[in-house]
Amino acid sequence: MQRINAVNDFVIKFANVNGTGSASANNLFAKAVFRMGVPVVPKNIFPSNIQGLPTWYEVRVSEKGYLGRRGGTDIMVSVNPQSMVRDAQEVEPGGYFIYDSTKPLDPRLLRSDVQFIGIPLTDMCLRTYTDPRQRQLFKNVIYIGALAALLDIEFGVLKDLISDQFEGKEKLIAPNVHALEMGHQYARTHYECPLSIRVERRDLVGDAILLDGNTACGLGAVYGGATVAAWYPITPSTSVVEGFQRFAERLRIDPGTGRRNYAIVQAEDELAAIGMVIGANWNGARSFTATSGPGISLMTEFLGLAYFAEIPLVLIDVQRAGPSTGMPTRTQQSDLTAAGYAGHGDSKHVLLFPSTPKECFDMTAQAFDLAERLQTPIIIMSDLDLGMNEGMSAPLQWDDARRYDRGKVLSAEDLDAMSERFGRYLDVDGDAIPYRTYPGTHPTKGSFFTRGTSRDEYAIYTEDGAAYVRNMERLLGKWDTAKTFVPAPELHSAPHQTNTGLLYFGTTTQATMEALDLLAEQGIYVDAMQVRAFPFHADVDKFIESHDRVFVIEQNRDAQFRSMIINEMDCSPAKLVRVLNYDGMPITARLIASAVSAQSAAGAAAKDTSPVAKATKVTHLHKGKVERG
């Protein structure tokens, strides 16, 4: 049998039962590899369920530092009989299938091209532990111990991690280490260790951290000066506000009184959550909420109000697979048009596209400045993949000299010094951003009425069409101003002249970066641009202009990002080629590379206008994931 030979370059997948504590054990594995200086990409693939359904945890180990999902499984750790058949089929030829051998393996599962490694996990637990919960929890720790032997992971690293994890609960350290040792011992006694796939210590992670995007957003809100958070629980965004709360409880307590320098309200629904955020921002506090697609739908009316009445707010959308309830625990980038154009009538919103935990932190903190500067909602378009999975990231940084940009706000002194009449919606500076006052500023000056109905420059209700048009035009002017404030795109030029470009954003970034290498290996060179915000920067326009064909990579069915480009810019739709992934799993480099190379070959051969894509993993979808524009 041909074996996969790999050092620091493989994918291991754990098949578990939801609610058995497996995620924390699997995380221990990922972190151990990370602490051995080798880049890791953990992905938790979980069901919409609390207990009992199959769940998977995938760890990609990548010496080259690729942070996207690779696809394929080299080692399957099968601890769930429910999914065993499918799990066994999934292993790459030459890979390994590690299973609980307490019961004999169904011979129908056996494959001649995969090595099967049995460890009697249940049996070992039954013999060692009496408490049912312990039997369940330590089963996970035992297989991590066995993997340490099989994959050559330093045992000391695991022991240190256990000590860190149970700091303050030291009684738990010894039993956990014992369970690790049991697994380690068993593997060494029964199998030749290490396997042909293994880990070797390197110095490749530098000062990187392992952090999930939601926690990073929550922390970004603490640093960005948010004082009011209102939210309604929804997967996969829940841990944003929980993260904010966890850090605020430590970092935002008034030392004199013990009182909180923040307020968190769990609202009755998403409508109320965004309503509270609007009320707080209107009254001068930095306030945010976090939600996912269904919440965006519910918040839409209020988002239109905030756009039209020009109220700052920060909204973190951790996208999941829609429409409707969709696949609530799977990832997608499918709220783009719903968020970008939320609201009836003509309305559009600034979107930011973070691609790493560090960008989640940075963009959340920055969003509060942008919201107050532009007096409009800022929506951060994260997704389940980025939000809920720990990812390797550059360390977070903060410049202590940085000051919050509170935007154009008039104080009582400003109002007293003014000779002209205050006009809430008057474009004084020519940047289409008017001045505002907080309620309670001055006894007789600067008050105005905020409303969703049309009004004139002085916030007086009017149904005069000309005044309405002036206001709508000014809002468009503000949209142009926004382009100069939002994060600029990042260009990756190919080493060779090329007329092909790739556009991508958010979580497709990691897989795209890897795909560029895969394509270069085939001699295909393309320029690539990571878009980081909507409205699109002028550089995006230039990028499209300067290439004959531009692949637009995104994770939804309808190529929403591509539609927004067409909608906002003067470019030919024909040159924008869709590259789509929307099965709920993070996009892979393999998919992107094969789609681009297939199209490149087809394009070079003839002026092919058929929507047929030759890419693997593409043709099994009804219409193909790749189409010509």
Binding site: A230, G275, P395, W398
Partner: protein
């Protein structure tokens, strides 16, 4: 109905303790129908805030959508106002209050805005005991869309168009009491003598104060057969007591015989004086209020006055232990933990 209000005022108009005249508490000219009950309520709000000597900019006024929700334009024009979306004023008021606990919040809503589309938000703002006065201008119909029945219309009530409501009404005062409201009153737009002291008491209450004001719609629901018509309410109105509001630091002068009078001292030291109390009712007993409401409803009466007050009410900021300083005034110094704290966090993530 006038479209113009002369700017001239008598130079010696009375001033309140802060030196403001009543003019400085007025709003724009109302565009509601002539005789609309809502305008009387606006006038009562102006009078109350003026007489309580609250600085006009210390008030924020919020509303939803509907005829009632237009009224914040017609009072306190030196206060910031927010006409939000239909049925969602409670959430906007909650956020505003969280941002600055030092201001006074007046929410105005209608029976459609609160008892139908906004029922959920109404229920939850009551539960949270948000520190605000919440006025429902209750006319039993949808005025702005030309007179459809609302959820507070009584069974058997006849609209101007002649249709008879067959659905059970929602009594917002009873609902609020069941949800733990800490101040509940009902009044009538045609009875300023009662309404003004109730508004003053509500503004002094620390926590959620509901005043459900029956406010006839002169255009669509003021006809014979309607239980929200001026005539009907005048004929069927009963009161729990006569209400006087005595602000903190003022002496109580009115004298009543023993057993006829009762004072409820509020959180801020002011006193609600209640006279000629109904014998079966106790203003500090929730169940007694619920019973009184149920019994008067049985008799087809409109029970008005102070229904319930809880003096030791614990408002939202106390429940969530937020700082006494308005959150919106905090700066980088209090809010941003800085780079060294971030380095510690980085280290914990390796």
């Amino acid at each position: 109905m006038s479209y113009f209000r002369p700017g001239f005022r008598h130079p010696e108009l009375p001033k309140n303790d802060l030196g403001y005249t009543k003019q400085q508490y007025e709003g724009a000219i109302s565009t509601l129908c002539a005789g609309c009950g809502h305008d009387s309520i606006s006038a009562a709000i102006v009078q109350s805030v003026f007489e309580l000597s609250i600085a006009p900019h210390q008030v924020a006024k919020l509303s939803g959508i509907g005829c009632s929700s237009k009224t914040p334009t017609y009072f306190l024009s030196n206060s910031h106002g927010f006409n939000s979306v239909h049925g969602r004023m409670p959430s906007v008021a909650t956020g505003a209050n969280l941002a600055n606990r030092d201001m006074i919040y007046i929410g105005v809503s209608g029976d459609g805005d609160s008892a139908s589309i906004g029922m959920g938000q109404f229920a939850h703002v009551v539960r949270r005991n948000l520190n605000m006065m919440y006025v429902v201008m209750n006319n039993g119909c949808y005025g702005l869309t030309k007179g459809q029945d609302s959820a507070t219309a009584d069974v058997g009530s006849r609209s101007k168009a002649g249709s008879v409501n067959r659905f059970e009404p929602i009594d917002l005062a009873s609902v609020a009491l069941q949800l733990g409201a800490t101040f509940v009153a009902r009044s009538f737009s045609g009875d300023k003598e009662q309404l003004v002291p109730l508004i003053k008491a509500a503004l002094s209450h620390s926590g959620f104060a509901l005043i459900d004001v029956v406010s006839p719609c002169v255009t669509f629901n003021n006809n014979p057969g309607s239980t929200k018509a001026y005539d009907y309410v005048r004929q069927h109105m009963q009161t729990t007591s006569l209400v006087d509001f005595v602000p903190m630091a003022e002496e109580i002068t009115t004298a009543y015989g023993e057993g006829e009078s009762r004072g409820v001292t509020m959180h801020d030291g002011s006193v609600i004086q209640l006279h000629k109390l109904r014998t079966e009712w106790n203003p500090e007993d929730r169940q007694s209020a619920l019973n009184a409401l149920a019994e008067s409803r049985e008799r087809g009466e409109v029970l008005t006055g102070l229904l319930y007050v809880e003096r030791d009410s614990r408002e939202l900021h106390e429940t969530i232990n937020s700082t006494r300083t308005p959150l919106r005034t905090l700066t980088e110094k209090e809010l941003c933990p800085g780079s060294s704290a971030l380095e510690t966090i980085n280290n914990s993530l390796r």
